[in-house]
């Protein structure tokens, strides 16, 4: 049994989740706290990836990052290849899962009592410090929930990854793609085994993470 898809999936999902945290936290905070023109548009854009069928979304991404794509040509000139590499799978997972994280974190930030933040400001804390010591800890349950959702969505992504990373065994074939391939080839025993191992691994991982999170907060 080939365990490569499992490792690849874990690597891709963890990197994608870190990326989602890094980009999603500021976006969620801005959407929760700021009022600006185009905010409605921004909010619609955030959830757009959930509305489009994944393979269609993947195709648009491929058009952007492929050989002839706007982004693809820039990367090509810089000697970098994104499409059909494991990094494309990260991109796919990030695009597919960001909305889940952002909406959860945004709701968490909106629920934080602003008077607590203001009190901290009057006591001399900077905006940056208030975010890390007041807002984020108070919204931590929502942020954690969003992170778990995003991580699981990243692990399970099929359509976007299929289009931008391909399903190349040993290079870009993640667990969902490998399982699909096995089912298509009528190798049901292997497909079932891989599904079971994937589910068990993630269940253990999430249980571990949940325990850690409870200790900290």
């Amino acid at each position: 049994m080939d365990f490569f898809p499992l490792w690849l999936s874990l690597k891709v999902s963890v990197v994608a989740t870190i990326l989602t945290l890094a980009t999603g936290l500021p976006i969620a905070w801005v959407l929760a706290r700021k009022r600006f023109t185009g905010r409605d548009v921004a909010e619609a854009l955030v959830v757009l990836p959930l509305v489009l069928p994944p393979t269609v979304l993947g195709y648009y991404l491929l058009v952007l990052i492929g050989r002839q794509g706007v982004i693809g040509r820039v990367l090509d000139a810089a000697g970098m290849e994104l499409a059909f590499t494991w990094r494309a799978a990260v991109l796919a997972a990030w695009v597919g899962s960001s909305a889940l994280f952002i909406k959860a974190a945004q709701a968490g930030f909106e629920a934080v009592d602003r008077r607590l933040e203001q009190a901290a400001r009057t006591l001399g804390r900077s905006g940056w410090s208030v975010f890390w010591s007041i807002t984020l800890p108070l919204a931590s349950r929502a942020v954690m929930a969003g992170t778990v959702l995003a991580f699981c969505r990243a692990l399970g992504d099929f359509g976007i990854t299929l289009m931008v990373a391909g399903s190349i065994p040993g290079l870009t074939q993640t667990t969902p793609l490998a399982i699909y391939d096995l089912v298509q080839s009528n190798r049901m025993a292997e497909a079932n085994a891989l599904s079971l191992i994937a589910v068990a691994t993630v269940a253990l991982l999430l249980m571990g993470l949940g325990r850690l999170a409870r200790l900290r907060f």
Binding site: W7, Y59, L62, G69, A83, L162, M163, S167, G170, L215
Partner: protein, 254 residues
């Protein structure tokens, strides 16, 4: 929070090191239509033994694979289920025209689940009320689906059958509908129909346009000679018997 981030980073490093321990990038990457799945899995080890090259098989719907190749997928050689996709890639300058080669003609069959008690022997039987659902591959983009539609039109049952039709994404997906007994009958490729839970009856190839399957080497392949070698191997004395066994008509036989 910090501890979670630390754990995440540790995981990435662990995953990265294990992933690197895997064998280096394969030597020849073959993109092939879903109907070739079973035949190519047999041919792969033979070709590897004969040439010493490592083969990576990427199977999928012809349309999908063609799109990926057009956008720079790392394929060395492409085996399409229909020549029109290779034509398009040739126009787009993505494949080497001189390497273009016909390697088979596909055949369609009428498949039913072995568990089913409904007798379906010819296309007209599909109209029986006991046959509630019929699966074909999506004629909009799957070559075998198009052939199925043409055959149904030729015998004059297409319009009446339409409300019963279920579309599979590709030919293997269509077969799955039959295998699981989700439909009472389906039209699939002969090359994939030889599975335990399915019995099938041939459909006269005169009822549809020939399914000419064409291969070509991809222009940006780093080792085009290996792609050419794979095509030649398939069309040679070792590949042909396997392809024949999976029900393909071979060049020179039609």
């Amino acid at each position: 929070m910090r501890r979670v981030v630390f754990l995440a980073l540790a995981l990435v490093l662990a995953a990265g090191s294990v992933a690197r321990a895997q064998p280096a990038a394969p030597a020849v990457t073959v993109y092939a239509a879903a109907d070739l799945d079973m035949a190519f899995r047999e041919i792969k080890p033979l070709f590897e033994k004969a040439t010493g090259a490592r083969v990576t098989l990427v199977m999928g719907s012809t349309g999908n694979l063609a799109k990926q190749i057009e956008h720079g997928a790392p394929a060395d050689v492409f085996f399409a289920a229909n020549e029109s996709f290779v034509d398009d890639l040739q126009t787009a300058g993505a494949v080497i025209p001189q390497t273009r080669a016909l390697y088979a003609q596909g055949r369609i069959v009428l498949a039913t689940p072995t568990k089913s008690t409904v007798a379906v022997r010819e296309l007209a039987d599909l109209l029986k009320p006991e046959v509630r659902r019929v699966a074909i591959a999506n004629p909009a983009h799957a070559p075998y689906g198009r052939a199925a539609q043409e055959a149904l039109e030729s015998v004059g049952v297409w319009e009446r059958l339409k409300p019963k039709l279920v579309y599979g994404e590709n030919i293997r997906h269509t077969l799955q509908f039959v295998e699981t007994g989700a439909v009472e009958a389906g039209i699939v490729a002969l090359s994939v129909a030889g599975v335990p839970d399915v019995r099938y009856a041939p459909i006269d190839p005169k009822l549809h346009k020939p399914l000419s399957q064409v291969a070509a080497v991809v222009k940006r392949s780093a080792r085009p000679e290996l792609g050419v070698a794979f095509i030649q191997f398939l069309n040679g004395p070792e590949g042909r018997p396997i392809m024949k066994r999976y029900g393909f008509l071979l060049p020179g036989e039609f």
